[in-house]
């Protein structure tokens, strides 16, 4: 079931990201950029215009032309024109997706580290927490009450219980990982 969740997320990420360039529709997303270095008395300048690929050359883009007559060809030879395309929709979508995931994770982290121990303490009393833990320093570690909740919940075999069971199992795994990496420095030092 979590795998299908992953699939769903992947398709949500992929579909808007891969679109053919022609269908962007936003005319602001194409440009022709001509960089012209200093020439005689004329200073260097950068010209940009929303033209298509076939019009992307010095004569169409450099306006107003700073030199006259015969110098135009020499000036244009030194200029370098490049056609560039971007997808502003992709960028917007990506940033918003990233920030929302980051925000959700931050909220969950605040809930796990600050709110949940407070709620559990108020609901179940102080004594339950103290007796449930092995060798974790203090109650500041997140998931430190995983064992006690796990032992309490085998009476109701329904969906909510399964979710809570899975969550407690995950917390225990993270607790183990944290012990190996941060406390005992066994892996990933």
């Amino acid at each position: 079931s979590l795998i299908f969740e992953f699939f769903g997320l992947l398709s949500v990420i992929l579909c808007p990201l891969i679109r053919s360039p022609g269908s962007t529709g936003n005319s602001e997303d194409i440009r022709c950029k001509c960089i012209c270095p200093p020439y005689k008395e004329v200073e260097g300048h950068i010209y940009k215009q929303n033209v298509s690929l076939k019009d992307c050359n010095c004569l169409h883009v450099v306006e107003p032309m700073p030199v006259e007559g015969k110098d135009v060809e020499a000036y244009c030879l030194r200029c370098e024109c490049k056609y560039e395309e971007r997808s502003s929709g992709t960028i917007k979508f990506t940033i918003i997706l990233y920030l929302s995931i980051l925000g959700l994770l931050l909220l969950y982290m605040v809930y796990l580290t600050l709110l949940e121990p407070m709620l559990k303490r108020r609901l179940f009393g102080h004594s339950q927490l103290i007796q449930s833990d092995d060798d974790v320093v203090g109650d500041q570690q997140p998931f430190s009450n995983a064992h006690s909740v796990l032992s309490r919940s085998h009476s109701r075999p329904n969906m909510l219980n399964k979710v809570e069971h899975a969550q407690q199992r995950w917390r225990r795994q993270v607790q183990e990982q944290r012990k190996s990496v941060f406390d005992r420095h066994v892996v990933l030092s």
């Binding site: 395309e85 990233y98 190996s180 420095h185 990933l188």
Partner: protein, 761 residues
């Protein structure tokens, strides 16, 4: 090869037909090594079963087709996911990096360059100026110039860098502690047959992706290539769970992981072929031809997906893709080789100091405060990096600037040469002229940046945030190379009458290209620290698209590898593997000592005797007693204590699972039931409880060597076959056992290293 239930023989017992494979047998514990031979046998049996049923019906035929093609499906999905995630990481990291500087008022999601994309206010000298982009000083104080706004910008830069780093380490600590570090040493160990549960899981993937962006954006001296390999391997692992062919077989899963790591490097550098060679040379342990083709396919799919996302708006995969067309001259090989020597020296220095610092962190009180450490390193980096424009900018942009050669279209300070045209103090951007003050000040700043990066990378690699090593090494090499290139250029200008330069260089013409020196320096430093050879040449070649520069690249990379090897044979990843004590039997090292199997095997003379099981003598209680008293992973099974003739080998985990399963499912199994490993039950008195048959978990073909076998051959067998243990016999009778851990400890002892540092089985 254990006989699965249902093997047809002429005198099958009735109970054989009722025997199914016991669920859980054949899986491995966390932090244990897999048995490659057993996994490959399991796969061949599965394949035979499917093939034999193929002709029965159309459904079976479809199933066999699906089985054959599932490999391609997995690598395609892995390539797609890697490309998509790499695009997400690139776009988000770019945006967050510029967030330290200011915001784009018209569209908040654009970084500086994208914000000014359509603006007509950009000038030739300031390519990124526009009114929509506001720096923090402008937003808060209302003015863009002046000392007050400089201090405000400084302060906001430090604030953002600190908050990104703090967020990153908090997320890693709370959700997925395995997401820290580079990932490549652990993936190397996993691919050689080690199990680390959760290292390639969903949460690790998500946290690594999110925190990688934060870590890169906080300005720390790290890169994202190593973590991208980890991300790609996570995708490969997750997708392989959809197909039972890969999820149930650890050896087949590692084929998918090899292909995934190729896809990871391919999206990091935009180099599909380099990615495949990197997977072959650095990451994978066994690399059959089938994996080669699939890795290439995965790398191509990933590169294609990344290109269609088009993160940088110029259809290039990597930010510092540069095309050179200028030739190089033979005399330039001398500075290139010098750059190679620098790369090798820096690589050896970095490996020594980084390992010493990581060892400090591991064993003393320093390691107790990871969050504080990250904040401290981020603060120091931000405070020192802001004043120098070369360290303030994104490291990838710095590399691109250094790789780009000076020409009429470039306006960086590095290109402010003094023009000789009218004898006046006009400045030009053409190289091969005397250096103007702009170039001198840029050189000073580059020297300071070099020292800063060298020092900070030592403390940054190994922090508890995702950190890669490729980009900082390339930056250090590029800075060194550019300095050497400019020095050579000025030498060529001021002494154009020397023999060397007179032969090849004409006055006023393009002779030396400092950008090429930067590229060669970057390759040399990266080769010096990772000791990559072929893959590095191909990656840099694909980055620059020039076949002409193969010779200087190879000269520099070979020199750096030789110089680095003179100080120590290990690259940075092998050194970290040794620091962590992973059971990695390096295929590149040769075992040259003359010891025999007898000297390495256990039990030694001072140890208790070998714990063996007899084939039909034990009761369940005695068996459980042996398992509880010892901590060995497996037990040889012998005919009887008098003859000591070998029957097979049984693993502890399998025995435990089988006994539990039997007690749950079968009736009448009690503590004094007889356990037998033979095909038929031994004759028992009439009132004894029902015996327990454990033949299905017995490995009937364990590998054996005699006690006089030279250790060279034993190590070779372990490497080539991927064994976990090997039994030692003397005159046909069982004498002892050699495990992979014993071999690693023996090799460490022979190399005068601490044998107790090998921690895992």
């Amino acid at each position: 090869m254990s006989n699965g239930g249902g093997a047809a023989s002429s005198s099958t017992h009735l109970l054989d037909f009722l025997e199914e494979p016991i669920p859980g047998v054949g899986t491995y514990d966390d932090f244990h090594t897999i048995d490659w031979v057993r996994e490959k046998c399991k796969d061949r049996e599965r394949h035979r079963k499917i093939n034999s049923k193929k002709k029965e019906s159309a459904w079976e035929f479809t199933k066999s087709l699906y089985d054959a093609w599932s490999g391609w499906l997995v690598v395609t999905l892995t390539g797609l996911a890697s490309g998509a995630l790499a695009g997400l990481i690139d776009i988000a990291a770019d945006w967050m990096n510029d967030l330290k500087e200011g915001v784009c008022l018209s569209a908040m999601w654009f970084n500086h360059e994208q914000c000014c994309w359509t603006s007509n206010e950009t000038t030739f000298d300031e390519r990124d100026k526009c009114t929509q982009w506001k720096s923090w000083a402008e937003l808060i104080l209302g003015q863009a110039e002046g000392p007050g706004s400089y201090i405000m910008n400084y302060f906001m830069y430090i604030y953002w860098a600190l908050s990104f780093a703090f967020l990153a380490v908090c997320l890693v600590k709370v959700f997925a502690p395995y997401a820290c570090g580079s990932g490549i040493p652990e993936i190397k160990t996993i691919l050689s047959g080690f199990i680390i549960r959760g290292y390639l899981g969903k949460w690790t993937l998500m946290i690594k992706t999110i925190t990688l962006v934060l870590a890169v954006a906080s300005g720390l001296s790290l890169g994202k290539e190593g973590p991208l390999v980890h991300v790609a391997c996570c995708c490969g692992n997750i997708f392989s769970y959809l197909f039972p062919k890969y999820s149930k077989n650890e050896a087949k899963k590692r084929e998918v992981l090899s292909a995934a790591s190729a896809a990871g490097v391919s999206v990091a550098f935009g180099a599909p072929i380099g990615g495949v060679l990197f997977s072959l040379e650095e990451v994978s342990y066994y690399f059959p031809l089938k994996t080669l083709w699939r890795s290439f396919f995965a790398a191509l799919v990933a590169a294609f997906v990344l290109r269609s996302i088009n993160p940088f708006g110029n259809s290039r995969l990597v930010l510092f893709y540069v095309e050179y067309h200028t030739p190089w001259y033979l005399f330039e090989l001398i500075p290139f080789i010098l750059l190679g020597v620098f790369g090798g020296l820096w690589g050896a220095f970095f490996i020594r100091t980084n390992i010493a610092w990581c060892r400090r962190r591991k064993s003393t009180r320093f390691g107790k405060y990871p969050v504080l450490e990250v904040i401290l390193v981020a603060t120091i980096t931000a405070v020192v990096a802001f004043p120098n424009p070369y360290t303030r900018q994104n490291t990838s942009e710095l590399i691109k600037e250094l790789f780009t050669d000076c020409g009429p279209l470039e306006t960086s300070a590095l290109c402010k040469y003094r023009s000789e045209m009218n004898g006046s103090t006009a400045y030009t951007d053409n190289p091969n002229q005397p250096a103007g003050p702009g170039v001198y000040s840029a050189m000073w700043q580059l020297c300071l940046a070099l020292i800063f990066k060298i020092i900070m990378t030592i403390f940054t690699f190994g922090l508890k945030v995702p950190s890669g090593l490729f980009i900082p090494s390339m930056a250090i090499g590029a800075i060194a190379g550019r300095i050497v290139g400019i020095a050579m250029e000025q030498l060529a200008y001021y002494h154009h009458d020397w023999f060397l330069f007179k032969e090849w260089c004409e006055v006023g013409a393009d002779c030396i290209t400092p950008g090429l020196y930067a590229m060669v320096g970057a390759a040399a430093c990266l080769g010096g620290v990772t000791r990559m050879t072929v893959s590095l040449v191909v990656i840099v070649f694909e980055l620059t698209g020039g076949l002409e520069y193969i010779v200087p690249l190879m000269a520099a990379i070979m020199t750096s590898k030789w110089v680095g090897d003179a100080f120590g044979r290990e690259g940075i990843y092998e050194a970290h593997i040794r620091l962590n004590g992973y059971p990695f039997l390096d295929a590149k090292e040769e075992f040259t000592h003359t010891t025999l199997a007898r000297d390495v095997m256990r039990p030694r003379s001072s140890d208790p005797p070998l714990a063996v099981l007899t084939q039909d003598d034990l009761t369940v209680e005695e068996l459980q007693g042996i398992i509880n008293e010892t901590s060995y992973n497996g037990f040889p099974v012998i005919v009887s204590k008098e003859s000591q003739r070998l029957v097979g080998f049984a693993l502890r985990r399998d025995i435990t699972i089988a006994i539990e399963n039997a007690r749950r499912r079968q009736e009448g199994i009690m503590l004094n039931s007889r356990v037998y490993f033979t095909q038929h039950a031994p004759t028992l008195p009439a009132d004894s409880p029902r015996p327990l048959k454990l033949r299905s978990i017995l490995d009937m073909s364990p590998f054996t060597v005699t006690d006089h076998t030279p250790m060279e051959i034993v190590v070779d067998i372990f490497r080539k076959l991927g064994l976990r243990q090997c039994l030692v016999t003397h005159n046909g009778r069982l004498l002892g056992i050699v495990t992979k851990k014993d071999i690693l400890r023996h090799m460490a002892q022979m190399a005068n290293q601490d044998p107790e540092s090998i921690m895992f089985n």
